[in-house]
Symmetry: C2
Subunit: 322 residues, 2 copies
């Protein structure tokens, strides 16, 4: 049986990465990160619970990826550059194969973003993974939720709804062709955080957040915090490649309130349309203009012909749902 210290040493302590920022990493009471005048540290924590955020028996390599990806997505939404993260997790037993695969998926994504594991905690218990991630932005340049302005365009990166499409099939809400499911599952299990786009949007976007609980609910946070309203052109929403083949009703529901998309929703002035497209190109990420911020409160949904839609959709709530 692997001890807690052996487990950490074997799977989570690694030789120095060229971009290492920590003065002191794993193995002391705290990790130490250098600070710098004129910079802010962006910090986010996410907790993933087995049976709630991922299936019992989930592929550990993909789980390692996703655990960090959802946190990097929060940094992306602030326009922060990833620096480091801590990993605290409880697991029922120290299974070496699981740990090897989990740490592999975790570090593949961490290395792709130069993000260093600097500490954490491991304990025995129901499988639960809590990552806290750290990034940096020049003071005042972070992309916030409370700074959207009336007249802004609303944009979204990539595509929406394929993760939700896969989830429904896995929950047997409907059946999907095996190939379609396999592709949609990629979006569910290994989301790609839009870090490069978030960085490229600094100085261009007025506000941003990541779409994790569904576009309507997440955009609602921007509206509430900025004291504005919006109109969305529902049929302009970029449905994922697998969702595009489904019914209009499903497309609308899953793009508006699918969850687990990890795309960026952001607002920018009309005068910055070219700059937004340039940032998207630099970040090699598709972006789509989906609506407008308006002074009048509330969210108005319009169909292709400009007619109001009342879809009675709500976003995901971790306690309201069963």
């Amino acid at each position: 049986m692997l001890s807690e210290f052996d487990l950490i040493a074997r799977y989570f302590v690694r030789p120095g990465h060229p971009k290492n920022r920590a003065t002191l990493g794993i193995g002391d009471d705290c990790a130490l990160l250098a600070q710098q005048d004129g910079m802010q540290m962006a910090i986010s924590s996410d907790m993933l619970v087995e049976g709630r955020h991922f299936f019992v028996g989930a592929d550990p390599r993909k789980l390692g990826h996703k655990s960090l990806a959802v946190n990097l997505s929060d940094l992306a939404a602030m326009g922060a550059e990833p620096t480091a993260f801590t990993l605290a997790f409880s697991l029922p037993s120290a299974e070496e194969k699981w740990l090897a695969e989990f740490s592999r998926g975790l570090f593949e994504l961490a290395d792709a973003h130069g993000c260093e594991l600097i500490g954490g905690d491991t304990t025995k218990g129901p499988l639960n993974i809590c990552i806290t991630v750290f990034g940096t932005t020049p003071t005042g340049e972070a992309l916030r939720r409370d700074t959207a302005q009336a007249g802004d365009d609303i944009w979204v990166s990539g595509s929406l709804g394929d993760a939700r499409l896969a989830l429904g099939a896995l929950y047997k809400e409907y059946e999907l062709d095996a190939k379609v499911l396999a592709k949609a599952e990629g979006r569910l299990h290994t989301p790609q955080p839009r870090v490069a786009l978030g960085l490229a949007l600094r100085g261009i976007a007025h506000s941003a957040l990541d779409v994790s609980d569904g576009l309507i609910g997440d955009l609602g946070h921007i509206l509430k915090k900025s004291g504005v309203g919006a109109t969305l052109h529902v049929d302009d929403l970029p449905a994922g490649p697998m969702l595009q083949k489904q019914s209009q009703d499903m497309r609308r529901r899953f793009t508006l309130a699918g969850g687990d998309d990890y795309e960026l929703c952001f607002t920018a002035p009309v005068s910055k349309r070219e700059a937004v497209l340039g940032a998207a190109m630099a970040a090699d990420t598709v972006v789509t203009r989906i609506g407008s911020i308006e002074a009048a409160p509330g969210l108005r949904l319009l169909d292709q012909a400009g007619r109001p839609l009342d879809l009675n959709i709500t976003s995901f709530d971790h306690f309201a749902s069963p």
Copy 2:
């Protein structure tokens, strides 16, 4: 039923505290903390699992206290000044009474240390509490584990073993008088992190850590990382007031390997004995000299007469234990 957002708004979002350091706190994708040249950020994460780190049905107010206390203890052990923390937790249901008491205990301790809640995550699942805490130290002044030197005195703060004494009684290993148990339980459920002492020891101690898994095991980390050995005078160890009344065997075992003490173990040169006592007085915390760091590897335990003791004690391991 409280929604996730209502829950956060009602119990965890608070009016500004005079010492607030976060430019942006709860409610965006990330919190933002200002950085400053010449300072380092100390970071630590701990995860507490129901049935493992605390009893099922534990008093939520005490649990709120302890969840933050164990993290503040890590900052104390680095000589870092507490700044902020994130709280991620899963709980089976959003019970208002539990949340009110938990947040009360949490914020009572947070306010006592000027430590601000800046973000986190709440979700449904088996009760699990993960706090990541942030503190600051001037660059190069943190108290580390790898910097003990041969010839250093070994010191410990406060007293050891009362938490373990309470735990044994709660597990029915033995019976304790109700008053004795009540007092010992205070050490188990509401440990007081030695933050003031850690700060006072900067520039005086060569190395430090917090005693959470038992003195022998924790001191072992200093020895291993510093490449040194040590001699401990076992009968000089400061037993907790309740443990003092127990048998010599119990005193020895629980002071050496009790766990859950959250005292500081630190080393300092002999020339700094007066300075250590001055720091302890300034921090209003008792300290006891318990042994010496030596060049020869290994840990030697001596009794009151200076005779070697072989107690066959090991420290706590989260995976080795049942």
